[in-house]
Structure formats: C-alpha cells, structure tokens
Symmetry: C2
C-alpha cells in the first residue's frame, strides 16, 4: 500500500463509488464514475416513483422542486448561498440564457469577450446568439494570460471557463471578476472543470453569473443536467428569453401571458428530465461529509505525486507538461507528446483511462474522491512501459475513434 493512502482523509469515499475492477480512472474530468447512491436512486426513481406512483410523484416525491433543491446543493459546493443556483438544461442552452440577459443589463455595450481557447461550445453559443440578435454585437477574443489588458468599456460581459479544458490553466476568479467589474462589465464563469474539483467562491468573488456541468467532478452521469447561477442582486433585473412554463411565476395556473418567476427559477424552461436529475441529486450526496477544501488539498497532493513519479520514471523530459503551477491550474495535468493519441490508447489498453485532446495533448484528470496514490504508481509504471517500448507506434493504437 502506498504510504500516502494511509494518511488520506478522503480514503473512505472510494467506497461510495462503483469502480470498474482492474482499472485506474484518470478521466473523471470527462465523465465521473457511478456513485453507489446514484445507482440506488436510479432504481428508485424509475421503478418506484415513476413505475408505482406515476403522475402523483410530481407532488409525493417532490419532482417539481428538484431543479431548485439540486441547484442549492450545487450552490453549497460552489460558494453560492441558497436561491441562486438552479439545475436545468445543458451548459450550451444555459449560456444562451445568461448571455442574452447580460446584454440587456448593459445597454450601450456591444461586446461579448472570451478567450480563443475557451471550450468550443461556449464560443459557438455566442456566435449563434449574435447572429440571432443582429450584427450590432461582437464576439471579441482576449488573451487568456492577460484578461485585464483586453478589457474596455464596450464589453458588456466577459465569459470565461475558469479552467482551460486542454491545459488545465485556472483563472483567479476573485481578481478577474474585480477587473471586469472595474471596467463596468459583467462576469460569467463556466465552471465545467471547477465544480466539485476545488474550492469555488461565487458569492465571495462577486461573480455575476455562472454555468456548469455536473457529469465531470460532480459525478452526475452521462449528459446529466447542467446548472446556472445568477447572483441574487441581479435577479430582479434579469430576463432570459427561453421563457418556458417551468420558469413562469405560476406554472400550473396556465395563465395566458408569461410572467417570470422572481427568483432563480426563471431560468427553467421546459419540463425537467426527472430521471437524470434524480440520479444527479443522489450523486451529490457523496459530498455530504467532506469539504471542498479537503478535496482541493488532496487534488494538489495527487498531482504533485504524479509529477514526482514521472520524474522518477525518467518521463519528465519525454512528456512535456503544459499545465501551469498548481496555484493556477485545475485538477488536471496536460502533457504534450507527438504521439499523445496513441499513448492514450495504449494506456487505456492497460486499464489506465485518461483522454486525448487535439492536437497533441494527453489529459490526466485527478478526482480526489476515488483516486488513490497507489493508482498513480500503477499508471506511471504502465506509461513508462508504453513510452520505453514505443508501443505507441503500433497500428492498433492509431485508429481514431469518433469520441476521444
């Protein structure tokens, strides 16, 4: 047993997950594994609530409040007081809502600013919104390493993914939010690679808006519903265009005209996907007895240990680390290698699951709730063998799958 595992305060959490035997899962930043509680809830919601109680479950199992209760649980993990987060739709759809509302809150400003290396869907959604609205609006790229230098008084909203999905670079939320506010803009954070991975303080940082997904470090399941945060101070001025019945002040009164709910619930649009959201609700219970600080501390320790192992194995010069220092990165490490894709496939073939991101990044995610230090010993041993034997040259590791 690895010495570090004996001292690990979170070691007991591993039992809360169904983990495939004989594998090391370094891809929790893409799809978190199945929590045992989520497995049980899936059966309960499908077979008991839907199967036995049918339509009455909207009341008896409180399906109707699920988006808000799950939202508050996510809020507790991201530094948001209750009533500011709601669970709904996808990040993409939620970005459309928030960006639309933000532009209305800054009339006279016509720019949405982001970084060129933001996750593509974030950029695509801005393109779609601008095309929808009119060419009066502009998508502007600013430098990830110098946000302040890119700010100007024509910017209505700055949209940043806090952690770069490729490199793992992490923005300083407090500092950047302050800079954007100093320039009169609104700050929208995409927490896809943040929520559940490390301490996030939305309220304390005075973030205006945030969105995030729940299938990575929150382990909500494939395509689990996303979330949206609107700071309470903004809620009375906020108006998003996907004004479906679930966001109405009185959804079941079937009133003839739309009247938005006064709070965060306005962001709901259509009927929520109850099965997926219930599974997510149960998955979040894994976090009940741990703090995000503990998770962040272990995340850093895991990454430090992994880098040490690489060094010891003589791999530090072969795989070029492109992630920054631990104070400015999320819970992942990214390495560059000309054969990254094949290395990743060969690693997977050995039961070490990481992923590849174009053009040449081997991406390694560190999810502290279930990952052990001994897993990293195994992972690096395997990686060393692959590299030393040039196993990445084998044809079977160079056939590309559509989803990688």
């Amino acid at each position: 047993m690895n010495h570090n595992d004996k001292q690990d305060e979170l070691a007991h959490k591993r039992a809360a997950f169904q983990l495939p035997k004989g594998k090391v899962y370094l891809d929790g930043n893409s799809l978190g594994p199945l929590p045992v509680a989520a497995r049980e809830r899936a059966r309960e919601v499908v077979e008991g609530q839907w199967g036995d109680d049918l339509i009455s479950s909207w009341n008896t199992h409180d399906w109707i409040h699920l988006p808000a209760t799950v939202g508050d649980k996510i809020g507790a993990l991201t530094g948001a007081a209750p009533g500011q987060v709601v669970c709904c739709d996808s990040i993409s759809v939620n970005l459309f809502k928030v960006l639309s509302a933000a532009l209305k809150m800054r009339p006279g400003r016509h720019v949405i600013a982001t970084t060129r290396d933001n996750f593509p869907t974030d950029i695509y959604m801005v393109e779609g919104l601008i095309e929808q609205l009119s060419d009066a609006y502009e998508l502007r790229f600013i430098d990830e390493q110098d946000i302040a230098g890119g700010l100007s008084e024509d910017i209505a909203v700055v949209m940043l993914t806090q952690v770069n999905f490729r490199t793992g670079f992490k923005h300083n939320m407090q500092q950047v939010t302050q800079q954007v506010h100093d320039c009169g803009g609104l700050m929208l954070w995409d927490l896809a690679h943040s929520a559940g991975a490390f301490t996030v303080e939305l309220d304390a940082c005075k973030a205006d808006f945030a969105v995030g997904c729940t299938y990575k470090y929150l382990n909500g399941g494939p395509g689990a519903p996303a979330f949206i945060y609107v700071a309470r101070a903004h809620q009375q001025y906020y108006r998003q265009p996907l004004s479906g019945w679930m966001g109405h002040a009185s959804p079941f009164a079937f009133l003839p005209g739309y009247e938005p709910d006064e709070g965060i619930r306005q962001n709901l649009s259509g009927t929520p996907g109850i099965i997926g959201m219930s599974v997510l609700d149960a998955a979040l219970s894994v976090f009940d007895d741990v703090s995000m600080k503990q998770i962040e501390t272990k995340s850093r320790a895991l990454m430090r240990y992994f880098l040490q192992c690489l060094e010891t194995a003589g791999l530090s010069d072969v795989l070029t680390l492109v992630s920054p220092h631990e104070d400015c990165r999320g819970s992942q490490l990214a390495f560059r290698h000309p054969h990254s894709y094949a290395i990743c496939q060969a690693w997977i073939d050995e039961g070490i699951i990481a992923d590849f991101r174009a053009p040449d990044i081997l991406r390694v995610g560190f999810a502290p709730l279930y990952l052990r230090f001994t897993d990293l010993d195994d992972a690096v041993r395997s990686l060393a063998a692959i590299v030393n034997e040039k196993r990445y040259e084998r044809p079977e590791f160079n056939q590309k799958n559509m989803v990688t």
Copy 2:
C-alpha cells in the same frame, strides 16, 4: 372479462408495462407508465454502460448517435422518413430553435400565429423570442375553429398544437398545413398529444416543422427528452441559434468557428442526457410490433365504449362532454363539471387516475397499449358512485395540490 377485451388485437401489449396494481390509469396523456423494457434499460445504462464502461460508452454503446437513432424511431411513429427527426432538449427549447429558424426563412413576414388556447409554454416561448428579437415581430392569435380565416400574408409561421390539451380538439393536419402553405407561411406542429396516440403523417401532410414530447403516449419517462422534425427540403436553409457543439458538423474536432451539421443534427446543442434518452429508446420498443393504425382504432373504440358506459350510468347529462366528435379529437375526453377538481381527487382516491385542467375540466386519457375495456367498466362504476353520493363535496377532495 369484458367481451371487447377478448377481441382486442393489442391486449398482449399490456404485459409490456409495469402497471400499479389495483389502479386504472387514465392519465397516460400526462405521463405514460413504465415499460418493462425501459426499466431494464435504465439498469443497463446506469449500472453497465456508465458504471462499468464509463467514458468509452460514447463509442462502445453508441451514445453519440442516440439522438439520431431515437429521432428516427419517433419519425417512424409520426410519418417522417429517416433523417428528419432528432431527440433533444424540451419542447419549449425546441420551439425556440424552430421559430427562430422559421422567421429567417420568411423575411418580410413578421407574424407568428397560434391559438389562444394553445398550451401555455408554446405561447410563452413566442413571447420570449419576440422580446429577444425586437418589437418588429408580432404574436397573433387566430381562431382554433377557423384557421383559414385567420391567415394573411404577413404570417411567417403558424404554430399549432395538433390536439388541444384541454378539450382534445384535433386539427386536420393535412388541410391546415395546405391552407398555411397557400398563404405562403410555414407550418409548425406541436405533437405533444399526438405522437404515439394516433396516426400522424408529417411527410405526407407536407409539414414544415414539428416538435413533441415523449413522456405522454410514448411512455419515455418523467421529463423525457423531446424531439424536433425539420422536413428534409428545409434542412439546407434552416439555421437555429442555439448553436452548441453537438450540432456542429464535426463536434469532436473542436474547431474554432461554428459550422452547422447539414442535416437534422444541427438541432442538437449541448451534451444529451444519456440516461433519460436511453430509457426513452427502450420505451419506444413497445411499438415495434404494432401499427399506429391499430392504436388509433383501439383508441376510438375505448372512447366510444367509455361514453356508452357514462350514458348507461346516467352520467351523460351530469358531466358535459366538451371534446368534439371522434374524427376531430385526440385520444382523450374532456368533461366539464363545476366540481371537476374534487371529482378527480375522489376518483384518484378510488385508484382511477385521471387529471384536472383549470378551470373545470376533468380530463380522461385513453392509451391503447395498456388500457382494457374492463378498466373503463371499473372507472365508470366508481365515477357514478362519486357523483351520486356527491362525494366531491368532501373537504379532503378540495385541497389543491400544486401539480394537478
């Protein structure tokens, strides 16, 4: 045993559902019951695909094609050839996409027309879209009973729910679509109460667009993902604004600019909810060995039989039928009574599950795949007792739940 059940060609389908014992379910038009195949698939997708195979399931279990394969299955039930239906998001969000695209396809026309008694979320979404776009657009109400009389050359798109959610009134899809086309407009059908209930012929009727939900007659589960139909002829001109990565021509190339998929897949936005969509996929297998014509025939027979039973029980004058003749109604019957709400609650108390729609409608849904004629005997017997004993005056049946 009721004589009609002996002759019922669909009688064997009842075994394909998990139905609560001792209950008669007349609310399949609100939430269909749990198909056995869906129950099995829920376990498989959660425990096997997610739990054991994790991220690799996007390839190995073909999650990535699920929206299209499920879409084509829904297409087969609604008269749409493959490649024109995709499963995604909610009706509300899908309406926003289609309406946005439709307005661009009819430049110079500024009106979205619908009926005042359309399901509220449909109307709310138009309000949100118009507020988003500018006041240059107009929401106009036309008479449900005289669509042709409301048409004019400033109408870009007519949006109708084929079956009125309260009364069950059903539009003649072929005739109305033709009338709208004659006036130069585009026709968008909401099939919430149509899909899986009776024969729908989207292609043959030359419908331009359709949306629909899958948790009613398609039995996809609470909040199951919705669908969207864009006629093939329109796909090359169609451009919707929720341009997320899953609708990109090459989602996993992570290209810097958005390029819409050339086909129906453009309507995808964020990552699809795999658990809910897999459950729906399995639920649709119930339809594999039956035709929509068989379902429609039994639906009519069930409704006729129910009305006969009411007549025999002396209830025809007490409960006022507000649904039209069977040639112009969906698979539901709506009755007016001053105490409809309490009658519905008292009925539910007896195990007969129907629902109430404001202000005074008792709504009875007939889902032919699992409903027996003998169930209707029981339902009417119970209803007669409630009415004759004036059980609807009891206080316990007059306490309103939020969701009814």
